[in-house]
């Protein structure tokens, strides 16, 4: 692809005026190209037979890319033969029809012909080398791209298909760090489905040994030494409960987005955190949707009028515990805030009474303080649902005013994620519940 003036970086082939096997004279027009500045013709740099077209009509390539190979030792009238010819790269002379870029472009292209480099190197190509580039040369030119030696070696050692790697170098070039990043993110394992499969493919085959002449032989890597420790009683008990829940319930998760701007404004007047406000709204919504304020055991669903609200409290690395606020419906936001604070403090001091962790009818878990935005919690059996509140973050959202005009505004948004038991209810009810909860939060009275 000839250089058409300084700022043009690429060009598109519009038409090939010659076919493979055609005889072309020096300076004869062989193709038409289009750049973002001008359209122009490409002339043959030498006489010969068109041996191979490398850039096809419609393809856009960088300036300097070899467009076609010309067999310069062929003779006019001779039958076209793929053997016994040596091919010259067509780094064609540009002839611009635009006065602006003409003389400079022409001389640059001519200079490029003389300069050592890509074109010069290919001019020396013999048939054998050429055959290599179309067959096993898939390495050097896979996908029409060229790769650096270190990238080729790493690809061979790790059995990586380089065409699957997106390059971040100049012009999309695959660099060493791209291969490293690709290997780090799982050695090109198939993209996961929407859930992560527990299946892990077999270890990759032993890497091919590289040339021994210059490099030290790769050492066999010993398995990594780790520290072992038995699970604490709490971890074992959490583990049992979680596995049992997943084996018992038909766990599904539904997610609804809520605008927390009004809650945020009200929160500041009340001087509390988000959690007691969300808890209060949840309690009110649960009393509308009693099917979620329920327990399911032995094929019997029991729904409740009062809300015994469980609040998951993290004990750091030790585990977590779910103290229960009995008859939470009787508490104001401030009252809930007080109880949550009290239970949390005593949970961390290991000072909860057995009654305080028993009898919940619904649970809220609140890991959003760490910045997570979505999670799929495990239901606290025998309850039928658990609400997960996530980080409240500013997002651009589309707001529609009373006249129906849309605008984009920055609002404090969050995802309300609820896992629920499909044995006890269906998705429509879960969604209705979450929508009602979100509405309650979004219309929180301010002032």
């Amino acid at each position: 692809m000839p250089q058409m003036g300084v700022s043009v970086a690429e060009g598109t082939v519009v038409e090939w005026k010659k076919r493979v096997g055609d005889w072309v004279e020096a300076d004869e027009v062989i193709a038409a190209i289009s750049t973002d500045k001008i359209d122009t013709d490409v002339e043959a740099p030498a006489a010969g037979r068109l041996h191979e077209i490398l850039v096809h009509v419609g393809e856009t390539v960088d300036v300097g890319t070899v467009m076609a190979l010309l067999a310069t030792d062929a003779k006019p009238g001779e039958a076209h033969s793929s053997e016994g010819t040596s091919a010259a790269a067509v780094a064609p002379k540009a002839h611009s029809s635009d006065g602006d870029a003409s003389s400079g472009g022409t001389s640059e292209a001519a200079a490029a012909l003389d300069a050592p480099g890509e074109a010069g190197e290919l001019q020396g190509d013999t048939t054998a080398e050429h055959a290599g580039s179309t067959q096993e040369g898939a390495g050097l030119r896979a996908g029409g791209k060229r790769y650096s030696p270190v990238v080729m070696r790493m690809a061979a050692e790790h059995d990586v298909d380089l065409t699957r790697i997106e390059g971040t170098g100049r012009g999309g070039r695959v660099r060493k760090q791209d291969v490293l990043a690709f290997l780090e993110t799982g050695n090109g394992a198939d993209a996961p489905m929407h859930i992560e499969s527990p299946y892990k493919p077999d270890a990759p085959p032993t890497p091919k040994k590289r040339m021994q002449r210059f490099g030290a032989p790769a050492s066999d890597v010993a398995p990594m030494q780790g520290a072992t420790a038995p699970l604490s009683r709490m971890r074992q008990s959490i583990g049992r409960a979680m596995v049992e829940s997943l084996q018992t319930a038909a766990t599904c998760t539904t997610i609804v987005e809520a605008d927390m701007s009004r809650v945020d404004a009200a929160r500041k007047t009340l001087g509390v955190t988000y959690l007691p406000m969300i808890a209060r709204a949840t309690i009110d919504t649960l009393r509308e949707f009693t099917a979620l304020n329920a327990t399911l055991a032995d094929n019997t669903l029991t729904t409740y009028d009062g809300v015994h609200l469980g609040i998951a409290v993290s004990l750091g690395t030790g585990g977590l515990i779910v103290p229960v606020i009995h008859d939470a419906q009787e508490l104001s936001v401030e009252g809930l805030a007080q109880r949550i604070k009290d239970l949390g403090a005593r949970a961390r001091e290991n000072a909860l009474t057995p009654d305080e962790v028993r009898g919940g009818s619904f649970t809220i878990t609140n890991p959003g303080g760490y910045g997570s935005i979505i999670a799929t919690p495990v239901i606290n059996q025998p309850q039928v649902a658990i609400l997960d509140t996530e980080a409240i973050v500013k997002r651009p959202v589309v707001i529609t005013d009373a006249q129906g005009n849309d605008s984009i505004a920055i609002r404090k948004m969050t995802y309300l994620c609820m896992s629920w038991d499909h044995r006890a209810l269906d998705g429509a009810l879960a969604a209705q519940f979450l929508r009602a909860l979100a509405d309650r939060l979004e219309t929180w009275p301010v002032g």
């Binding site: 650096s148 030696p149 270190v150 070696r153 170098g169 660099r175 060493k176 210059f214 490099g215």
Partner: protein, 321 residues
């Protein structure tokens, strides 16, 4: 440890060795009574006397030839060329006599030839050259080029003790600009490269004054991790250190203050092409002085010698590749 300039460290090395070994003596133009053009041997004549601090005629061939004769007789002369540029007058003695004496006659030529070299101060074409490659090309000579005060002392002591003729390239522009902690007493610095700054994205290979240019140019490159390898010794060349850096970083910029053609950096580039091909992630890039004499004009001299910005631009380009 004492803080010394590069120049003081060179003086200190010679003083230590002259005190410890009476076979060591210095000779050169105006080095005695005047203390040397750059005052490297200032005060030497008072401490060691005119017999061991010899003023010579303006005749480099005679200086080197005399040193060779003294070395063959068992002494350890240190010959100073007032400017490295003038060494060409002593070329035959160095390249043909000193370099081949052991090969032809089995005689050790334990001489050290100090070459104040380099530009950057408008010295013009006769006072600014970096002629190290002339001697790298001649078998039998060792060539070292320190960039720090500590290395200047350690490498010079090692050179004085080395039984082979050693060309000691001391960069004039570093004489009073570079300061550093220098250990007291006598110590040898091996003729090996030194990692001046460790990094992993790209390595700049340099020696002498260009080590400082490379460090400055790559101090802050938007978080890129750039290694700087200070060769310190050009012959022998520390092949292992060069290849280790290239294997780690995969991208290489080589900086020479010398004229580009056949400079030390050309040898480094060849070495990498031959032995580290499979570790390269981009072309080996060279930054060097174009093949022209060094101009007097400060503006032109700056345009010719590799500057911090030139190195930074080359590094940026290659990092982006």
């Amino acid at each position: 440890m004492a803080t010394m300039t590069y120049l003081q460290a060179i003086s200190d090395a010679m003083r230590e060795e002259m005190r410890a070994d009476e076979r060591v003596f210095v000779m050169g133009e105006d080095i005695g009574v005047f203390g040397g053009a750059f005052k490297v041997t200032d005060g030497f004549i008072d401490e060691f006397g005119a017999e061991r601090v010899m003023d010579t005629p303006l005749a480099e061939s005679a200086i080197v030839g005399t040193a060779i004769g003294a070395a063959v007789e068992g002494l350890r002369p240190i010959a100073e060329m007032q400017f490295s540029d003038f060494v060409s007058c002593g070329f035959d003695q160095l390249v043909n006599v000193a370099g081949k004496m052991f090969y032809r006659q089995g005689l050790s030529v334990n001489i050290t030839v100090r070459l104040p070299s380099g530009g950057g101060f408008s010295g013009g074409p006769f006072h600014s050259q970096n002629p190290e490659a002339w001697f790298m090309h001649a078998p039998g000579l060792k060539v070292v080029a320190p960039s720090t005060a500590e290395d200047a002392k350690g490498l010079l002591i090692k050179a004085i003790r080395d039984p082979n003729p050693v060309i000691f390239m001391e960069h004039k522009h570093l004489y009073r600009r570079v300061k550093g902690e220098v250990p007291e007493g006598s110590y040898e610095t091996e003729f090996k490269a030194r990692v001046a700054r460790a990094g992993s994205d790209l390595v700049v290979i340099a020696y002498g004054a260009m080590v400082h240019t490379a460090l400055e140019a790559t101090a802050d490159l938007d978080g890129a991790s750039v290694e700087v390898l200070d060769l310190r010794s050009l012959v022998p060349m520390d092949t292992e250190a060069i290849l280790a850096s290239v294997r780690k970083c995969s991208k290489v910029v080589i900086v020479d203050e010398a004229n580009q053609m056949c400079a030390a950096g050309a040898q480094v580039a060849a070495l990498i092409a031959e032995h580290a091909w499979e570790d390269l992630d981009g072309p080996v890039v060279r930054v060097a002085t174009p093949d022209v004499p060094i101009p007097f004009s400060p503006t032109l001299e700056q345009a010719v010698l590799p500057q911090v910005d030139d190195v930074r631009e080359a590094v940026r380009e290659l990092l982006d590749f």
